[in-house]
């Protein structure tokens, strides 16, 4: 990425984004106070939300829902309509931002194809969806400010059932993450500040997922050579996901493509830091490729229309060494990015791999790239890997993800080349995938004992008695 790209990216916000976000913020304020307690400001905000989508197919349903909610009738149909409207607005914001990014970087993006049918995924069980929706309804009626322990606890049984249903894993992971945050914040009325946008986002996405379950859809088989760029780690108390960003060189000789491959595991809150890799030990080929910086040969692995490889170990074979920085320099600029599935469109999902080099780090960590400033997200350096703020500040090259949140573009580092004490150093988020390579970290891990082994042993004894 060059200074000129950055100028274009971070220049004027695309038209319409501010207006769309204002309508979203109005709804978020209403959801904070609770839909059962709407003042005139909030009913205006609901009507403004409906107004913002009035010329879309959602227009009539949202206008009707806004009126009904204002009149105190707050049922699943009304809530689904306003959730859809909010999601549509943020989807439009996502599109404007991603288009700006593609233009700025000169990135080509595949056209959206309808996903093939998914014969393995039958319809999700309706009773579970109903239970999830009714909790979301209670939350919306009460408002974040009114959330207390008993209201959070009413979700416990539903969550247990959701986790037991693989077809509803996305909803289970999302609702569990939301419930844990609410529980830790109870009583919410005493919080100094409420994460309004975030919780409304989670509520909205959960409403969408509780309509008919997941929309991941089917996939088509691909073969070729996978060249890793970097790995993004996601984590909350009971789930961890690592998402590889890579360039795929298709075996049929087609153009190189940007793809992602994510694997995830359930966990508990006391399993943190480098230990999370242990939960993913069912994926040794993937972990080896990450830890040793190897290419992976994939054979007939399924790829969704959204660019996600559905990882299967049997279809993957670790190959030669493949330096992610070489891939970023040589293959990334021409790789074609995938289309984004319609319902996944939200600014939070924008995570576009880029290579930054020739920069200087400011004291606050931001990169100065030919006089242009790029904010670096130093809070997002997971403890499961070797990246630290010091390393990022000492970097001469950085592979990262461009992200956008609340009006700011940031770079989330995934890997750096740096000079420390005059010696070249390389560090990647996935370096510890097979265990920490830093002796100090390995020693600390030994001292705290093996949490995964302790809990698995207890689980084995107590759950199968």
């Amino acid at each position: 990425m060059q200074a000129a790209h950055l100028t274009e990216l971070t220049g004027r916000t695309p038209p319409g984004v501010a207006e769309a976000l204002e309508a979203v913020s109005g709804f978020d304020a209403a959801l904070t106070d609770g839909l059962a307690r709407l003042g005139p400001r909030h009913t205006d905000a609901l009507r403004a939300l409906a107004g913002a989508v009035s010329r879309s197919p959602l227009g009539a349903a949202t206008a009707e829902a806004a009126d009904k909610i204002a009149a105190g009738s707050i049922g699943p149909a009304e809530l689904s309509a306003v959730a859809a409207a909010r999601a549509a607005l943020l989807g439009a914001v996502h599109d404007a931002l991603l288009e700006r990014l593609d233009d700025a970087l000169g990135r080509s993006r595949a056209d959206r194809q309808a996903p093939p049918a998914d014969p393995e995924h039958g319809p999700a069980p309706a009773p579970l969806l109903t239970v999830a929706r009714s909790w979301l309804q209670e939350l919306a009626i009460t408002g974040w400010r009114g959330v207390d322990d008993p209201l959070v606890s009413t979700a416990d049984q539903a969550l247990e059932a959701l986790w037991a249903e693989p077809r509803l894993r996305r909803l289970a992971v999302l609702l569990d993450g939301l419930a844990a945050e609410l529980r830790a914040s109870c009583p919410v009325a005493t919080m100094e500040r409420i994460p309004r946008r975030r919780w409304a986002d989670l509520w909205t996405r959960a409403m969408l997922l509780s309509q008919a379950g997941s929309w991941t859809g089917g996939a088509t088989a691909v073969s070729g050579r996978l060249l890793p760029l970097g790995v993004d780690v996601h984590e909350h108390g009971t789930a961890v996901q690592v998402q590889l960003h890579a360039v795929l060189e298709p075996a049929d000789g087609g153009p190189a493509r940007l793809v992602r491959a994510a694997v995830a595991a359930a966990k508990v809150d006391t399993i943190v830091g480098p230990l999370v890799w242990r939960l993913l030990s069912a994926y040794p080929t993937l972990l080896t490729a990450l830890a040793e910086h190897r290419a992976v040969t994939i054979t007939d692995m399924r790829l969704t229309s959204g660019g996600d490889l559905l990882w299967e170990e049997e279809r993957a074979e670790a190959g030669d060494l493949a330096d992610p920085f070489a891939t970023a320099r040589v293959r990334l600029p021409d790789a074609q990015a995938p289309a984004v599935p319609p319902l996944d469109r939200h600014p939070v999902r924008i995570a576009e791999p880029v290579l930054v080099e020739g920069h200087a780090a400011n004291r606050d960590g931001a990169f100065d790239l030919g006089g242009e400033r790029l904010i670096v997200d130093l809070d997002r350096l997971p403890t499961s890997g070797p990246l630290t703020p010091q390393l990022v500040k000492a970097s001469t090259a950085c592979i990262g993800l461009l992200r956008w949140d609340a009006g700011r573009w940031t770079l989330q580092p995934l890997a750096v080349e740096a000079v420390v004490k005059k010696r070249p150093v390389r560090a990647h988020n996935g370096d510890w995938a097979l265990g920490p390579t830093d002796p100090k970290v390995a020693k600390a891990l030994d001292r705290s004992g093996d949490a995964v082994a302790v809990l698995s042993e207890r689980a084995g004894r107590l759950l199968r008695k």
């Binding site: 992971v173 909350h236 108390g237 508990v268 939070v348 809070d379 609340a406 009006g407």
Partner: protein
Amino acid sequence: MDSGEAGWEERSAVRVTPPVQPRKLAKVPFVELAEGRLQGVVSSGSDVARVYVSSIAAETHDFSCSTNNNRPCGGLTAGGGRRCKHLNALIDEAVRQYGAERVARHLKVEAEEGDELRSRLQGVHRKAPAAEVFSRFLRHLAYLEVPASPEPLPEMHWFPAWGAVR
């Protein structure tokens, strides 16, 4: 201050729950701040098959300790004011996991570090049901038995793995 702090409420990806610190789990495999109590499960020092369910109520700070089969802990005397070693281990591990301040806030007591917290918890023994806490522990363990699903989880973009608090 981070220049983005002003817009915290307008951001999608922010850290809401403070991070949990790693700790040894063999002695006290489960600790939680929930249901108006600090509660958890403590291993028996002598019998691998036995665990104690210990809890301390917020506000009153009354405490309870019994085996998961509801047998009273021998370290507690009826109506007595002294905590057994299981309860003290529970407090210590909770402080390790959550930090003294968060534990104190949950129990509604003013304390900034562990020793102070221990000395300010002046409740008496009052039996609380163990079965509920034990079943929450089983539910906690059940996460480790959830079969993996290869489906990508786009929702996890709202949950970045945050770095250490610096």
